[in-house]
Amino acid sequence: MDPYEIEFIGENRVVSIIPNFTYEKIYLICGEFGPFRAGLPMNVPLWLAVMLKQKQKCRMVPPDWMDIEVLENIKEEEKRSRFFTKMPNEHYMVEAKLILGNAPEDVPRASEIKTIIKDIWDIRMSKLRTSIDTLMKSGGNYGRLDHLTMMEINSVKPLLPEAMDELYRIEKMTQKTMPTSLNTSTFSQSGSSQNL
């Protein structure tokens, strides 16, 4: 999938905004939101938050985890652990990118936060490469990948699944016909000539 399609999926997540206008409830297909009260926080889907922000109709409220201290802890934990730790949400990178990209002024210490999130992302990406390596070495037909987010999983497509497909095929062929002699191909062993 394209990263923008995963962003699209992540944009359905609900985030908090503070509108600067007052309006009654709005009934969308994906649910009802509002009423909008100027100055009062409320929840909307991320795509709507971005849209309102771009029209300067709201301030974004950074999610709880977008906080230096919380993120530092996550980063330490991620460094320490051999496994992937559970992220504050399944689309943390999408949320970070859209909120910090559209509303940096609404997030205290936005640029530091951006750096830490990028650090966490990088640690996880390099861990991901190590795990893939281990996975391929250990047989390469199954792996458990808890806590990886969809965007992270997407970053190893199509490389990992296709390599596993190819390996499976190669080994399947090997298994099917183990030749007695390695010097000749399987279809040239019985060299007996017979008259046509």
């Binding site: 394209d2 990263p3 923008y4 962003e7 990118k97 859209l98 990209g101 559209n102 490469r129 893939i132 390596d133 391929m136 070495k137 390469g140 965007m151 997407n154 970053s155 190893v156 497509k157 199509p158 490389l159 296709e162 390599a163 190819e166 390996l167 095929r169 190669i170 080994e171 062929m173 090997t174 099917k176 016909t177 183990m178 030749p179 390695l182 010097n183 000749t184 191909s185 399987t186 279809f187 040239s188 062993q189 019985s190 060299g191 007996s192 000539s193 017979q194 046509l196």
Partner: protein
């Protein structure tokens, strides 16, 4: 890989030549052997024959006409090299379709291990585009895989850097225009 009847990849793989020895005379087929002058191909002649032909007439078939020997890349000498360090082998020169052809002719266990070793090299290369050039030339399928991995990497870093999802000209349309422009310039 897709072995279907219409797969161009499979056609190209089965077009690779394998060393064969003919068991019988083949009248009027002398032209298959460029070094022979006779009209007929004589029993005992050894020559490289495309796999699709060899496969149809090897000794496991109804009409055994020839025996097939392993291409050298699958023989002991190379097995040792591949075992020692698969990453140093130039697949572009030695085995454009190493894995795929191997699945037809060399059904022993070295390919899996070679694949694993070289996969690692491929993966580390795909994250930094400059190192792709520095690794030993790849087989056709490895090249394809490396290109796909690089495309994923590009799409991801593109996404990380920009806010919008740009709409662009369709691929075929853009390429058609590009080519036309190039043709115009040549005139």
């Amino acid at each position: 890989m897709n072995n279907s009847y219409l797969s161009i990849l499979d056609i190209l793989v089965t077009n690779e030549r394998v060393p064969c020895r003919f068991l019988h005379d083949l009248p009027k087929m002398g032209f298959m052997d460029p070094s022979a002058a006779e009209d007929d191909l004589k029993a005992g002649a050894t020559l490289d024959v495309p796999l699709w032909l060899a496969e149809n007439f090897n000794s496991s078939c109804r009409i055994p006409l020839l025996t097939v020997d392993l291409p050298k890349i699958y023989k002991d000498a190379y097995r040792e090299i591949l075992n020692a360090d698969a990453c140093t082998v130039d697949m572009q020169k030695l085995g454009q379709h190493f894995y795929e052809l191997g699945c037809y002719v060399a059904k022993h266990d070295i390919k899996g291990e070679t694949f694993r070793q070289r996969f690692r090299m491929l993966m580390s290369a795909s994250v930094s585009s400059d190192s792709i050039g520095s690794i030993q030339p790849l087989s056709a399928s490895e090249r394809k895989r490396a290109a796909a991995a690089a495309a994923t990497e590009r799409a991801l870093s593109g996404w990380l850097q920009r806010g919008d999802c740009p709409l662009t000209t369709a691929n075929m349309v853009a390429n058609h225009r590009k080519r036309k422009r190039a043709e115009m310039e040549m005139l």
